[in-house]
């Protein structure tokens, strides 16, 4: 069965549900919660259609839809959506995590419930839009619009320093994206002022119909890179992340770690590499250094955190550094590992934040020192936490292993030093995670407040079960995931290889078919 305009449905259905919630002010908070849960679950089911009908033999865009959005004398902006092997699983990750995020705030959010749900749902639309948009302006619009609901999620439902964190979040992420906007406009006019369409611009660039000078390419690359590096976040642009994570409500942290950070690495794969491969190759050593610093620095800082959420936040810095390192290894293992690792990090870190949120709901503290021996009173919770911890540190048989091994193989192939340092980071990751686990769950119950902690209930089990199942699935049988990514990633790899090929410049300057240079 084929569904027409399926990507539009997946993208806009959450916003539609949000609209219904806004327009029914009389409905109770409970009804709104059910509506949001059912709506976002429907989006998830709809998005499974994408996985099932995805043709893994094709590298280009699938499920494409394109129509004119704005046309004036000077501009043509299209509403162009499409996904390939890179974005497919990120869309699924988003639709998968959002119902869980709604479910996890079922009881913990009591103030302004409806506005909260509206924020989560519009956020979902924004995130899916970012992964599907193929027109640069459309992409930028989703990219920016998504900030507003996240800003409110942190600022209204967050912790004590929520306002500081919210403002920091929005200012940091906007610095990069505004410069990216200028770069997008520049690219548009460099391309003859005819289209913002990513597919067409990439085609012109790779066929040589559009030539950028190396100086232009460098600056455009930097403008895009800054936007994505802040979002990832790469060292040294990471300082907004711990604040935002610590202050955000649980669902906010889950979405932030699970999906928002992926937008940065997705942007690198989708825009920086295919559009500006030359500059990307030139910058790769520097970016890899920053990525390695991020891996080790994040791990070391995570080790000394007294607060569970902060620990997980810094572990994100470390893990996302690994993803960046994999991308800039420019080989198949690295790219594939990075893409899988994006998915893994979304699952494992999302799950960690969910787990931390659960204990916070019970104890209203996140300080590691306040816990100890929790395994005695809440064995199921402790077991779930163990599985997620092991997934996060990359135990074979769970999802984390697949991504980490691929990335390490990829980066070894391109540079032994970076590969070994990254491996060191992985060891440190095991250290801080297991040490944290030991301090929280093992040992004696010393703090009397912990004696009354109830184990997780049915709702919480329902949240964790699907995540754990997917973790096992990827860990044991990653074939269906890898095969769907492979062809699309090989296109990225080819694009990079074409730059390393010395004959490229000559061919681009002397195209076989001169008609190609004429603007359409």
């Amino acid at each position: 069965m084929e569904i027409g305009n399926i990507l539009s449905w997946v993208t806009y259905l959450p916003a539609l549900v949000a609209g219904v919630i806004i327009l029914t002010p009389r409905a109770s908070a409970k009804a709104a919660k059910w509506l949001a849960l059912l709506g976002s679950s429907a989006v998830f089911i709809l998005s499974l259609h994408l996985v099932i009908h995805f043709d893994s033999a094709k590298g280009g865009m699938q499920f494409e839809e394109s129509c004119e959005w704005m046309r004036t004398a000077a501009f043509a902006i299209r509403h162009h959506l499409g996904i390939d092997g890179i974005s497919l699983f990120l869309v699924i990750l988003t639709t998968f995590l959002t119902p869980l995020a709604i479910l996890c705030s079922w009881e913990s959010i009591t103030r302004r419930v409806k506005s909260y749900l509206v924020c989560l749902l519009t956020l979902e639309t924004g995130m899916i839009g970012v992964f599907c948009a193929l027109d640069l302006v459309l992409f930028y619009i989703f990219w920016e619009v998504m900030l507003i609901p996240m800003y409110f999620l942190i600022g209204v439902w967050g912790g004590e320093r929520r306002i500081y964190a919210a403002v920091k979040f929005i200012l940091y992420t906007m610095v990069g994206s505004l410069l990216m906007l200028v770069a997008i406009i520049y690219l548009y006019f460099a391309h003859g002022g005819s289209t913002f369409d990513l597919v067409e611009i990439t085609r012109s660039l790779s066929s040589g119909a559009l030539m950028l000078t190396s100086r232009e390419e460098f600056w455009l690359f930097m403008a895009f890179l800054l936007a994505f590096a802040i979002k990832v976040p790469m060292f040294p642009f990471h300082t907004w992340l711990p604040d935002a994570h610590v202050e955000a409500p649980t669902a906010g942290s889950v979405i932030l770690a699970g999906v928002l950070l992926k937008m940065g690495t997705y942007g690198l794969l989708r825009f920086c590499l295919p559009l500006f491969p030359g500059a990307a190759v030139d910058a790769a050593p520097y970016i890899s250094v920053l990525a390695v610093i991020g891996i080790i620095y994040g791990a070391l800082v995570a080790m000394v955190q007294p607060d569970l959420k902060k620990l997980v936040a810094y572990s994100s810095v470390s893990h996302m550094g690994l993803v960046v390192l994999g991308i800039f290894a420019f080989n198949m293992q690295g790219l594939q590992g990075a893409t899988v690792q994006m998915l893994n990090h979304g699952l494992s870190t999302g799950a960690l934040f969910l787990l931390v949120g659960m204990i916070y709901d019970r104890r209203h503290t996140r300080r590691i020192a306040d816990f100890g021996g929790l395994a005695h009173v809440s064995p199921v919770y402790a077991a779930a936490f163990m599985i997620v911890t092991l997934s996060s540190i990359g135990l074979p048989g769970l999802n984390g292993f697949v991504g980490e091994v691929l990335v390490l193989m990829g980066s070894f192939a391109s540079s032994k030093i970076f590969g070994s340092l990254a491996a060191l980071g992985m060891i440190l990751g095991a250290v801080y995670m297991l040490w944290m686990y030991q301090r929280v769950f093992l040992g004696k119950l010393e703090n009397p407040d912990n004696g009354a902690v109830k184990d997780i209930g049915i709702r919480e089990k329902l949240i964790l079960l699907p995540i754990v199942l997917v973790m096992l699935w990827i860990g044991v049988y990653s074939g269906p995931f890898l095969s769907r990514m492979e062809v699309s990633l090989s296109l990225v790899e080819e694009r990079i290889e074409s730059v390393r090929d010395p004959g490229r410049i000559y061919r681009a300057q002397h195209p076989r078919n001169p008609d190609q240079q004429v603007d359409k």
Binding site: A74, I163, I185
Partner: protein, 480 residues
């Protein structure tokens, strides 16, 4: 001549309505003064309707080349008439509350608007000057309309003194241009210069003085110093009017002079305006961060927005000018919404205008808070609002014409603006209301309707801007 007369009907309607209000004022009982506002709105509607026939693709001049009839002037006159109507509507309740509900107020609004309409239609420096004076004198009085309020007095006096100073610059500039070219008519100035194959230094100096004069009127840095005090002290509906009306009129007139009278100086004025635009964007946004008075904050934001609009003029290109026209429409809507909410919060005496007075407002009046938030988000240039599309087109015109530095400064200063616009959002949504925070007074259905239309307008322009953009494309004066 009879034909010319028909084309002047919009002006005549405004002026007759203004004088009629003056005459009716003594005979209208105090309880029915709001009728005056309705008459003003009616006059605006009639004038807007009679302008419709002037929309054509055939620009021409009447009255011996003094008065231009083209889409550019029709576009702006429509905008001014909307501003007039909205200002009159939001003033009614405010004026009743403050005890200044008198017919002269609406009469002055009408006169100011007729001055603005004259400014954009004029293609002769003398007529332009008369338009500017009609507008200025009416706004001097409006700024001081709360006679018993010392801040309003201060605003009026300051505006009057500095405005007169600016007028002197303007007049001196006009005199020098006349002296060196022998004409005050835009077209003649242009043609004479092209016949002479160049320009004299006195023309350049005259143009410089003219820029100073306009810099005052549209509050460009470094000629902006009057704006925050005047905007703060003037009655809030008057502030709303002043931040959009005279500003748009100033820009429109400036564009007409630059394009029609002195295109041969394009290199010179565009480099001067380039500098002014950078200074204005930076200073307006940075100083706005420091404000705790919302009216004052929006005053600096108005200065900053003048800087953005100037970016479009600096490019001296078709897309740049149409972006300016589009942005002025969006800016008018955003500011009108913001001020409509502000004056409903400001309370008796117009004193609750500080950030702290908005604490937790989202809980007490969600509608007003949401409308204000949307206009602030749009002012900050976030996508899906008209403000984003406006900035997008302004900055892309800059990039298109090679002014990449200007675009970069523009986006970075917008980032600064996000900080202060969002601070108000923080206060309204993320803090709980305390006892000191005022509950905004209920708005009349008319004001609510205006706000709803504005909200729809902002979103409409943010999502489907084609129509207004195409309208703007049809309305620009092609660079000569």
């Amino acid at each position: 001549m009879g034909n010319d007369f028909i084309l002047l009907i919009p002006q005549i309607v405004l002026v007759i309505a203004a004088m009629a209000l003056m005459l009716l004022e003594p005979f209208t009982p105090a309880a029915h003064k709001s009728r005056m506002a309705r008459i003003a709105v009616l006059a605006a509607a009639v004038a807007a309707f009679s302008l419709g026939s002037q929309w054509s693709d055939r620009p021409r001049t009447i009255l011996d080349g003094m008065y231009a009839v083209d889409n550019f002037s029709v576009f702006f006159q429509w905008l001014f008439l909307v501003i007039l109507a909205v200002s009159a509507i939001i003033s009614m309740k405010f004026n009743e509350r403050e005890g200044i509900n008198r017919g002269e107020y609406y009469s002055l609004l009408l006169f100011a608007s007729s001055g603005m309409c004259l400014m954009v239609s004029s293609s002769d420096l003398i007529l332009t000057f008369i338009g500017i004076e009609i507008l200025s004198i009416a706004t001097y009085v409006l700024a001081g309309f709360k006679r018993a309020d010392i801040r309003s007095n201060e605003a009026s006096l300051k505006y009057f003194l500095l405005g007169s100073f600016a007028t002197a610059f303007l007049l001196y500039g006009i005199a020098l241009i006349y002296g060196s070219t022998g004409s005050t008519n835009y077209q003649t100035i242009r043609e004479l210069a092209s016949m002479q194959g160049g320009f004299q230094n006195t023309t350049l100096i005259g143009m410089g003085l003219l820029l100073v004069g306009f810099g005052f009127k549209i509050a460009l840095v470094p000629f902006h110093s009057w704006a925050p005090d005047v905007y703060e002290g003037a009655p809030t509906p008057v502030t709303a009017f002043m931040t959009v009306g005279p500003k748009a009129a100033g820009f429109a007139t400036l564009i007409r002079i630059l394009v029609e009278a002195v295109p041969f100086l394009a290199d010179e004025w565009s480099s001067v305006l380039w500098l002014l635009s950078i200074l204005t964007m930076i200073l307006g946004n940075v100083v706005a961060v420091l404000q705790t008075n919302v009216k004052r904050m929006l005053a600096y934001s108005a200065i900053a927005h003048a800087g953005y609009i100037l970016v479009g003029i600096v490019t001296n290109s078709g897309p740049g000018y149409s972006a300016v026209l589009f942005y002025l429409v969006v800016y008018t809507i955003m500011n009108m919404i913001a001020f409509s909410v502000i004056l409903s919060v400001s309370g008796s005496g117009d004193t609750r205008v500080y950030l702290k007075d908005y604490t937790g407002m989202a809980r007490r009046s969600p509608f007003a808070a949401a409308a204000l938030s949307l206009s602030l988000v749009s002012l900050a240039g976030i996508p899906l609002t008209g403000g984003f599309i406006g900035k997008f087109f302004l900055f892309s015109a800059a990039v298109r014409n090679g002014y990449i530095g200007l675009a970069v400064i523009g986006v970075l200063t917008s980032l600064v603006s996000v900080f202060y616009y969002f601070r108000l959002l923080v206060i309204m949504y993320m803090k709980d209301p305390d006892e000191t925070a005022a509950a905004p007074e209920p708005m009349s259905w008319l004001v609510q309707a205006v706000i709803v239309m504005g909200v729809v307008g902002i979103l409409w322009l943010g999502i489907f801007p084609d129509q207004i953009l195409n309208l703007a494309d049809f309305s620009i004066l092609a660079p000569k």
